[in-house]
């Protein structure tokens, strides 16, 4: 916990890793942030990297330009397109590691995060969710649905709902759909009575110790629940559990709900009661696709529904366009010339989709807001995969 040592290590890491950058600028063509802003060098991956790199070298972290530095570093959505490109055709710099380290550094120095994000962090610390909502209200989404509450009761699967699906009224339908599908499958599952944030926004914004605090709390709860499998609504929680919680996968099977359902329905003939004659396109969430290579199970689930015609947008799978919600940008307004989610809706309309489906609460929210802002409610709908299944099965 020695702050001096931590800061020194963070700086050394950024310098060491950052110096591997060849300045080839190939990453710029992949970066959604760069594409949607005014095209300044500092708005692209290598530009962000060099900003923090030189700020350290020239000892300007806390200087008069610290607010610009903060804005540069916190604009990234952490979609990973840059890293994938760099690995594919250039030096293979783990750019997101630098951004994460840079944010930890700025946060320790109280230069970051953005002021609106501060509230999200304080809320996670006080109430276990970034929305400033009372912890007591976390299960209100379930309404009249009955399911096991862990750890009082025991089950083999934990459905980890996540903060957004729990507290955002528009996402309650998604959580309820997942529950109905689990019940339909006869899965022995339960939900935590006192679920708290997975901590993903915390580590994204750079508070290492608060993140460790959330990890400890969650590990305790998972242990007490005595489950074998954890199924998440959000790819962000999924990613955090898989990659940032130490060796959680040694003790629990960790699945995103699309993976879990695709496996559970394989070989079973789901008796669909309603034909959904929709032309749908699937928006790959960055944290499911690019970060965890899960592209096919969601598509399989869609193709299974009778009547669905699946079309692909021009930027799909590993080339998917980020919705703009990751990297802490759900909690703060960042200047953009064109909103990423608006562009994405445009891409969906281009291929004739009447429904754009996704498998992430943040993508859902960003895309839904875009449809409203563009006044396209008559032309396209945002639906989550679980909701479509529930509709087709008439649950």
């Amino acid at each position: 916990m020695n702050e001096e040592k931590e800061i020194k290590e963070l700086k050394e890491k950024i310098i060491e890793v950052g110096s591997r950058c060849w300045n080839c600028n190939f990453c710029f063509s992949a970066c959604p942030n760069y594409d949607s802003t005014r095209g300044f060098q500092t708005q692209g991956p290598s530009g962000i990297l060099q900003s923090i790199y030189y700020a350290i070298k020239m000892d300007k972290i806390e200087g008069p330009e610290k607010e610009s530095l903060r804005d540069i570093l916190y604009a990234c959505t952490t979609c990973k397109s840059c890293e994938i490109t760099c690995k594919g055709i250039s030096a293979g710099v783990p750019i997101l590691e630098i951004i994460e380290a840079g944010r930890k550094l700025l946060l320790e120095k109280m230069v970051g995060p953005l002021s609106q994000q501060r509230r999200a962090l304080e809320s996670i610390y006080k109430y276990g969710n970034p929305y400033g909502e009372a912890a007591e209200k976390r299960l209100l989404w379930s309404d009249a649905l009955k399911f096991k509450r862990l750890p009082q009761e025991k089950a083999s699967v934990l459905y980890y709902v996540g903060c957004t699906a729990s507290y955002e009224p528009e996402l309650h339908g998604l959580a309820r759909s997942i529950v109905k599908l689990l019940q339909f499958l006869g899965v022995d599952f339960g939900v935590l009575e006192t679920e708290v944030c997975c901590g993903d926004p915390v580590i994204t914004l750079g508070d290492e110790i608060l993140f460790q605090e959330m990890v400890e709390q969650n590990k305790e709860k998972f242990k007490a629940a005595g489950v074998k499998t954890i199924v998440t609504t959000s790819p962000h929680c999924f990613n955090a559990f898989r990659r940032k919680y130490g060796e959680l996968e040694k003790y629990f099977e960790i699945k995103h709900y699309t993976e879990f359902l695709a496996e559970a329905f394989k070989g079973k003939k789901a008796v669909f009661k309603k034909r959904l004659s929709y032309t749908v396109t699937y928006h790959d969430p960055c944290y499911l696709g690019k970060h965890n290579d899960i592209y096919d199970p969601p598509r399989q689930l869609l193709k299974d529904i009778p009547g669905i015609k699946l079309v692909e947008m021009k930027m799909t799978r590993v080339d998917s366009l980020c919705c703009g919600g990751g990297g802490g940008r759900m909690y703060a307004e960042v200047e953009e010339e064109k909103r990423l989610a608006d562009v994405r809706i445009g891409q969906a309309l281009e291929v004739g989709a009447k429904v754009i489906t996704t498998a992430c609460p943040w993508c859902h929210t960003m895309l839904q807001n875009a449809v409203r802002d563009l006044k396209m409610e008559e032309k396209i709908e945002v639906r989550d995969i679980a909701e479509l299944w529930v509709e087709a099965l008439k649950l």
Partner: protein, 257 residues
């Protein structure tokens, strides 16, 4: 520069407000935080310290959550913390707090005193002015911008429909608005380390005050829940219909236009 920031511990505004059986505010499960405007005052003090060098002292009176709340202040960058804790402060009002704070300040050296413009629970907005009066200092309230140079301060004060630029020689008392700055976020690491910093705790006797001197000038006789609003109407139909319905209601029922 020696800067003193006066802090109040307040309810978290997200909290549900309930009355106990005795008709008092039920605060047993409520989180206490630094009053938001006071946080901005502290941030302003720390920024002045960073610019001009010096020390920031936070002071609070009463309440039981001062240690936790001070942890946050010290993590942000305050250097010293003083808590006046005394059972005779139960039922303290703005006058009582002002008396206590003025007595503490009389024992300190300072160039300026910063407060938040009002507390989010009480919203009386009296302490800064009462404090300035007791210290016989000039006051500037509702400050949305502040700069200090050569023993003088220039403050922008919000008034209805605009602002005033005021110049005053230090020392002086300022109460600040939320919009004056963006408060910094101290990492949990900083907050935990701040727990190790000492807090000076004083009783009334320690600052030479008797219970009589802090008797409040006002007493809350009763709390009542406000009358609930009447149920509203949802206007539906096609647009021209809805608009004429609305205008009719506003003219005839509500009589507001």
């Amino acid at each position: 520069m020696k800067i003193v920031v006066c802090i109040k511990q307040t309810f978290d505004t997200e909290a549900q407000i309930a009355l106990t059986e005795g008709g008092r505010i039920d605060d047993h499960s409520v989180l206490f935080i630094v009053n938001p405007c006071d946080e901005h005052a502290l941030e302003e003090g720390i920024r002045l310290k960073e610019k001009k060098g010096g020390q920031v002292t936070v002071v609070t009176a009463g309440g039981q959550t001062a240690p936790k709340v001070f942890q946050h202040c010290l993590a942000m960058g305050a250097d010293h913390a003083i808590w006046v804790n005394d059972p005779n402060l139960n039922g303290a009002d703005s006058h009582s707090y002002a008396v206590v704070l003025s007595r503490v300040l009389q024992s300190l050296e300072y160039d300026l005193v910063l407060c938040g413009r009002e507390s989010i629970d009480d919203k009386s907005s009296q302490v800064p002015a009462r404090l300035a009066e007791l210290l016989d200092l000039p006051q500037v309230n509702l400050v949305s911008a502040l700069s200090v140079d050569k023993g003088k301060a220039q403050a922008t004060r919000d008034i209805e429909g605009g602002t005033e630029i005021i110049e005053v020689a230090l020392p002086a008392v300022f109460s600040v608005q939320k919009g004056i700055n963006e408060v910094r976020y101290p990492s949990l690491r900083r907050v935990m380390q701040a727990a190790k910093m000492p807090i000076k705790t004083l009783s009334l006797v320690d600052i030479g005050l008797t219970a009589k001197e802090v008797v409040p000038f006002s007493v809350i006789e009763k709390y009542v829940l406000p009358k609930p609003r009447k149920e509203g109407k949802v206007l539906s139909g096609d647009l021209p219909e809805v608009i004429s319905q609305l205008i009719k209601h506003l003219q005839e029922d509500a009589k507001v236009i």
